[in-house]
């Protein structure tokens, strides 16, 4: 599976607003390029990104062509309780990459 980097403060207080940063390895093929033989290279981009916090969706993004390879997505969320952040990227081939990270509330 693709390499992923996710970063946010490992410990936070209830009510804190934290920044969550994500980076994923993906070619983000636009669909507008041709290969060496002139045939169109089919589009293959991550078209959807979601993040849930203990099951509640806290961020969702729809991605379109013209977003660079290896997209970096950062967003903020309010810390409510200790639990899991689940990140999910879906691409045009239907591949879904899911990553889970623990968050601890002091």
């Amino acid at each position: 599976m693709a390499r992923v980097l996710i970063n946010f403060p490992q410990r936070a207080k209830r009510g804190d607003i934290i920044e969550v940063k994500t980076l994923i390895q993906h070619p983000m093929e636009t669909g507008y390029r041709l290969d060496n033989k002139g045939a169109a290279i089919p589009r293959d981009i991550i078209n959807r990104f979601t993040c849930t916090y203990n099951g509640d969706e806290v961020f969702r993004g729809e991605l379109h062509p013209a977003i660079s390879a290896n997209p970096f997505i950062a967003f903020s969320t309010v810390v409510t309780e200790t639990g899991e952040l689940v990140f999910s990227w879906t691409d045009d081939r239907g591949q879904i990459q899911t990553e889970t990270r623990q968050i601890n509330v002091e």
Binding site: R3, L5, I6, N7, K21, T22, L23, I24, Q25, P27, M28, S68, A69, N70, F72, A74
Partner: protein, 254 residues
């Protein structure tokens, strides 16, 4: 008259500055704030993805003997510290310098009995990035061995050699006109401190050899083949020019 003199004086100043060793500036100094911020934050630096991959490859057994890099070299954080800052290095058996990518492939074929990795393949870039990452902050320290002198001299000659349909040498841009713009981009001084680099234009990580080839294609010259002795000589000369400057791989460049 004033209008005429100003640019001339500016040019003279730039030429003098390029010659003074303490006026050297890495590509990082020429990059914009956003790019620098991207490089400095490991989560935002896309080069980190290859470093992660390289870390996994480091301890993965390969080849006929089923040996991993880690089986001989141990913890890369210790054993590979400062190594990339010393490349290209002289190889006594080959009687010529080899760069880091070539050394990794040499290790694979001779010690791991595995297939060499293709130039610019993700795996080779990943291993190079992982090894180079251990030299972040270490000053460039290529060897001053006399055996390397002819190769450094060849590199220096190539750096000054006009080439291609545009008939430009490396030096004309990177020493005589650094800091000015070529189309929208600032011309840097060509100090290869951050390779392999994540180049936004490439949308991927790339080696110094790829960078050199791009420059050569830019001046409409026939680029060196990957791994060509001339390419390694030029790499060596560039690292000699950058001796003492801190390494910052994997760097992010426009």
């Amino acid at each position: 008259m004033k209008g005429l003199l100003k640019p001339l004086l500016g040019l003279a100043a730039a030429t003098t500055l390029a010659a003074a060793p303490d006026e050297r500036r890495s590509g990082y100094d020429f990059a914009g704030g956003e790019i620098r911020a991207m490089q400095d934050d490991d989560t935002a630096n896309p080069g980190s993805l290859w470093v992660l991959q390289g870390e996994a490859l480091w301890s993965k057994p390969v080849g006929a003997d089923g040996r991993a890099c880690a089986d001989c070299h141990g913890d890369a954080r210790v054993s590979m510290r400062g190594v990339a800052a010393r490349y290209p290095a002289y190889d006594a058996a080959l009687a010529r310098p080899v760069d880091l990518e070539q050394r990794i492939n040499q290790c694979r074929t001779e010690h791991q009995r595995a297939e060499p990795l293709a130039w610019e393949s993700d795996d080779l870039l990943a291993l190079t990035a992982f090894v180079a990452r251990q030299s972040r902050g270490v000053p460039v320290a290529v060897s001053t061995k006399p055996e390397l002198h002819p190769f450094g001299a060849l590199g220096r000659e190539l750096f000054r050699q006009r080439q291609g349909q545009l008939n430009l040498s490396c030096r004309q841009c990177h020493e005589d006109n650094w800091g000015k713009r070529l189309a929208g981009s600032v011309i840097p001084q060509a100090h290869p401190t951050g390779y392999p680099v994540y180049r936004l234009e490439w949308q991927t990580l790339g080696s110094l050899q790829r960078r050199l080839r791009s420059c050569m294609i830019g001046v409409r010259a026939e680029p060196f083949d990957y791994g060509a002795p001339q390419a390694v000589a030029l790499e060596l000369y560039l690292m000699e020019r950058a001796r003492g400057m801190p390494m910052d791989p994997p760097a992010v460049r426009p």
